[in-house]
Symmetry: C2
Amino acid sequence: MSKSGPLSGITVIDMTRVLAGPFCTLMLAELGARVIKVETPGTGDDARAYGPFVNGKSVYFVSVNRGKESIALNLKDDGDRDVFEMLLAKADVVVENFRPGTMEKLGYGWDDLHARFPQLIYAACSGFGHTGPHSQRPAYDMVVQAMGGIMSITGQPDSPPTRVGMSIGDIGAGLFTAVGVNAALYDRQISGEARKIDIGMLDCQLSLCENALVRYSATGEVPGPLGARHPSITPFEVFPTSDGHLIIAAGNDTMYQRLCEAIARPDLGADARFQTNPLRNENHDALIPELNTELSGESTDHWLEILDAAGVPASPINDMARVSAHPQVEPRNMLVDVPDETTGTLKVAGNPIKISGFDDPASRESAPDLDRDRAAILEELGVAQAAQ
Amino acid sequence: MSKSGPLSGITVIDMTRVLAGPFCTLMLAELGARVIKVETPGTGDDARAYGPFVNGKSVYFVSVNRGKESIALNLKDDGDRDVFEMLLAKADVVVENFRPGTMEKLGYGWDDLHARFPQLIYAACSGFGHTGPHSQRPAYDMVVQAMGGIMSITGQPDSPPTRVGMSIGDIGAGLFTAVGVNAALYDRQISGEARKIDIGMLDCQLSLCENALVRYSATGEVPGPLGARHPSITPFEVFPTSDGHLIIAAGNDTMYQRLCEAIARPDLGADARFQTNPLRNENHDALIPELNTELSGESTDHWLEILDAAGVPASPINDMARVSAHPQVEPRNMLVDVPDETTGTLKVAGNPIKISGFDDPASRESAPDLDRDRAAILEELGVAQAAQ
């Protein structure tokens, strides 16, 4: 499969494991970079052992490592270190998500790398970043979700602490790392300098929670969980219907008026308490029961048809089966085929970064088995394979 | 304040409103780009009217628009269109998050822009993207959170539908747009071509939910909400203590053994049912009550001290007050000062993309009042101001 994308010609040495780093390098691969996973011999990326499995192969792993190459190198072995350094010499970017200090112990800290491979951009994605008193502590997605505050604003007001259902701690950090790598690639073209990018998962949580943070710092009020309600827009939340739920997001006064017309409640549209968003937000507890009364009388599909026709943003609460079948998903190529000899063809999330002039093929290569690309990579480097 | 960063020298014309687009251009500004907001005369960005307010000024708006410039232009007025086009002629990137078709109606669709301003990268961030049958529908954060499936995996198993507490629909799309813009800037240096980037918020949700999607597509099982539990790692969830909760994230077998030692339950460490992560995941309902019994007997602080010493990743469930005071936040410069004449100095989330060789100052310029930079921009363009 030919690689085409803005990062075509870029080579990424990918030392990442599990999710945050691999999601970053997945985005780089989707943008056209060649991504070579350097894995621990024997076990490889920890995520190869994470379920669910199909015929013994982790689809967790396939989802975020499709389209990459794999070579297993023991970075404490001199011969393997030679191969690794030949890879670094030809690469543009190295990405890792070890605990800080690990690269230094291997002799591949930023100072060493930058001195020996001045073209090489180095991106590190760790729990707390490479500086500060917590730098050396271990972190996982769940740790930064709890520590960074996102769990304190997610959930029902009266329910136990609630995690964001996907790994926003990892995936968020992976995305910020991808922004940094791309910015550094641009900068290297201009300045001739390669940079170190130092991403901390906790830092990323603060950026993602910018609104709750400024709400606290400006007002002193500590935001709590609001269920499915927006903190500053009304009506912008979930409503029960006769057969389930739907959400309505009436983000401005026009939308609100359309909503009142659509549900045949002109009195609510005329009510002085509900004329502007700040007023509706203030009088939330007066407005919502009125809307509940109307909406709970009919089915979700009934209301969706009426609200769609009225131009009021609304949606059912889709599960993964429903979103997979959503009529916008296939035309946007957002579920791509991954043919795999072991698992059969999988459907995985496509690339949401659509860029003109580049292909967005309907299928992707699967994730490599551990060390799959050894022979080809060694041949390319001119290393005699018998020596390995 | 001098701008320093990988995008130093880059000018972004920012037509975005509310959150998804503004978060993208905030990242570009944090990376050193000059960002000029082009706003509707009179009202400007809708988010200027979103609370909370301090002395009448929206801190919602300040948080995501700090460090940008503002000029109010009526794009249906010939004189203002001239000014706008002079800006486009000198710019590198234009970003908008209108409903698809809006730019075409204004005469600034991609085909027109690309023909007239061949250097200009154009990034569009819309609800459903610029293609496909749902393209023209309105969307907000809440709509794509419901439609894209993230709400179906967030929340307690028995609770009403639960939104992610921050606007992951908007912020996620803003981040993917920022990745795309940076990749296109790099590519423009190589290929000489400017590209169109077409981001759909719904597409981004699928990418963020990649794990749940592949879980469904590979196994046919529809993932549901798990409270604060990880779907494939055990123990990796919230536990009640005598005075609250804490999370423990024992991501591999070593961590699990350390945990069992730390809580003085070697029997759990030796139990055949709990020897590997797949086994622990399978026997989750046997293991967790045992851990609950131990952990609920002492306070959160008690356990955090013990788990920290044992090297087991753990955390309290911090709210915004606690995370703001976290000892790693100030050393990482993740709450920066924004001096503002109206609101006083605000604390807002800093830049999580730390890049060597560039400043990360402890304060940022505030968000501009509407049209604040008109005179300076017109002078720079050599436009006689009397004519405006």
